[in-house]
């Protein structure tokens, strides 16, 4: 009687062992597959990084350029070499012609010529590659000091974008929202609050 039971027991044991082996094999297989996927993902990440660094080295970032008003760039009309306005690095409150500007950017740390090019006023100061930045690409110069914000803006975390979430977008550049001379965001008027729900007036009824 006992022998008869033992044989199926042994068979069952072998079956169970086989099953666990199968499961383990499948399990490790899937882990391997996962790790391969991870590898591919990592490769893709590094590729992206190289692409990003390439973009950075070429200073290019796909921002559609909106032309700025013509009035802001003929700076050379006054500040050109022939007009010979002396270049004055000293901070002063009375800005003569530029009375409409109230410089409120970084306190005493920032002065006009920390951004504007003293040699050619139609351009901004260059990055380390020596090429002067035009006003359309001013965000490159902003990124010189505000590096973390620039990084966030490039990946779409900081700032506004409109258009397609999976395609062509309109980028809002730094100076679209922030006045470069007084970059702090100005308070605005809020839209009206929601109406309060209707509630019955207090009655004299007693329960």
């Amino acid at each position: 009687m006992k022998g008869k039971i033992v044989i199926p027991k042994v068979a069952l044991l072998f079956f169970a062992l086989g099953l666990t082996g199968l499961v383990l094999g499948l399990g490790t297989g899937s882990i391997r597959a996962q790790s391969q996927d991870m590898g591919a993902a990592l490769e893709a990440d590094t590729l992206d990084e190289t692409q990003a660094s390439k973009l950075e080295s070429e200073r290019e970032f796909p921002v559609p350029l909106t032309p700025l008003p013509k009035t802001i760039t003929p700076c050379r009309a006054c500040h050109g070499p022939e007009k010979d306005f002396p270049v004055n690095f000293k901070r002063r409150e009375d800005l003569l012609v530029h009375k409409n500007l109230k410089l409120n950017h970084g306190g005493v740390r920032v002065w006009c010529l920390d951004c504007h090019n003293p040699d050619d006023r139609n351009y901004l100061l260059p990055l380390s590659d020596g090429k002067p930045i035009d006003f359309e690409h001013s965000y490159l110069l902003c990124g010189k000091c505000h590096g973390t914000k620039f990084r966030d803006w490039r990946s779409g975390i900081h700032g506004r974008r409109t258009g397609k979430w999976n395609g062509e977008k309109t980028y809002y550049r730094c100076v679209t929202c922030h006045d470069p001379h007084s970059p702090k965001f100005k308070p605005i008027e809020p839209m009206p609050p929601p109406r309060r729900p209707w509630t019955p007036k207090e009655t004299k009824a007693r329960h």
Partner: protein, 325 residues
């Protein structure tokens, strides 16, 4: 709709008059017990016929009455329904409507980010949403509530949605807009007794307004108060109605149905940002595909500190609040 309701009231008054005259006649004819039973049966039949007629003529068309759940409709049925709706809306608002039925895009799972440090509580998103999604102006329905908290306080019970200062942001306060969180484990869709609300493959929780019976179980189940009920016919001025719609999204709703934010399904299924993202003046609102590692929302989750509202309820929202600094 108005002439339909007119016919409904006429029908009603007719039947009332008929039954009234019978009641008047009864004492003259000196009815036996038998006759009263008969006349009762007659009034019952008349009432039943009137009820059927009411369903047929007044509340909706036969086509609408026998319309299937959107998920069970065949292509032809969808086409017919869209055509019927377009005709109906044209009659009501005098505009050519587009009622889209775009299917979800492959390999997309929508996620939303909101920069809680940048939001200034100006409510531009609230009213942008109302215009885009054809919400009722009177009675008022706003998909987005902007909560104002005192600095350092995160108790939702102590927040205020009726704040109305001259200028925002105010000193000592911060703001947190709340709308449908598009949960991955939504309590609202589970409680629907007729399965009129469900999660689409791209993660948007939608409502089939024609299938909704208006029981409002979903509103009771939602811990974010992200759903709204049309107690009356929605009041939308004809000149402000948005004719670019989606069947599951911003098409004009009817009375007695529940509605909610759909991440502007009519826009995002065509690849466009939701309206609230576009109108935010400080760029606090972010939107993208969670399955794309280079999308804005994926990068936010990867690099910023994020939290989800009422995470302890295991609703698993796809709406991430984050701190940009």
């Amino acid at each position: 709709m108005s002439d339909q309701t007119d016919s409904f009231s006429k029908e009603n008054s007719n039947s009332a008059r008929a039954s009234g005259s019978e009641i008047v006649q009864r004492p003259d004819s000196q009815p036996t017990d038998n006759r009263t039973v008969l006349s009762d049966r007659r009034t019952f039949l008349a009432g039943a016929a009137g009820l059927l007629g009411m369903i047929a003529v007044s509340s909706c068309t036969w086509q609408e009455f026998f319309q299937n759940n959107f998920r069970r409709m065949s292509k032809e049925e969808i086409e017919q329904t869209v055509h019927r709706l377009q005709e109906e809306y044209k009659k009501k608002y005098g505009k050519e409507f587009v009622v889209g039925t775009e299917a979800p895009l492959d390999a997309t799972l929508f996620g939303y980010g909101l920069d809680i440090q940048r939001c200034i509580g100006c409510r531009r998103c609230v009213y942008g949403c109302v215009e885009e999604n054809n919400q009722s102006r009177d009675p008022q329905i706003h998909y987005i509530r902007v909560l104002r908290f005192r600095d350092g306080n995160m108790d939702l019970e102590q927040s205020d949605i009726y704040y109305d200062p001259e200028e925002v942001p105010e000193k000592g306060y911060y703001y947190m807009p709340v709308q449908c969180q598009h949960c991955a484990n939504p309590p609202c869709t589970k409680v629907c007794p007729v399965q009129a609300t469900w999660t689409e493959p791209d993660g948007i929780v939608v409502v089939d307004y024609n299938w909704c019976i208006g029981c409002r179980y979903c509103m009771a189940a939602c811990p974010y108060m992200g759903r709204w009920f049309n107690f009356t016919d929605p009041g939308i001025p004809k000149d402000q109605v948005n004719p670019n719609t989606h069947y599951l999204g911003n098409r004009p709703r009817m009375r007695n149905v529940v509605e909610k934010c759909t991440f502007c399904i009519q826009r995002v299924r065509q690849g466009i940002y939701p309206k609230c993202v576009e109108v935010c003046p400080v760029g606090a609102r972010k939107f993208g595909n969670l399955l794309d590692p280079n999308s804005e929302i994926s990068k936010i989750i990867k690099t910023k500190r994020v939290f989800r509202l009422k995470e302890e309820l295991n609703t698993q929202p796809k709406f991430y609040y984050f701190f940009s600094i």
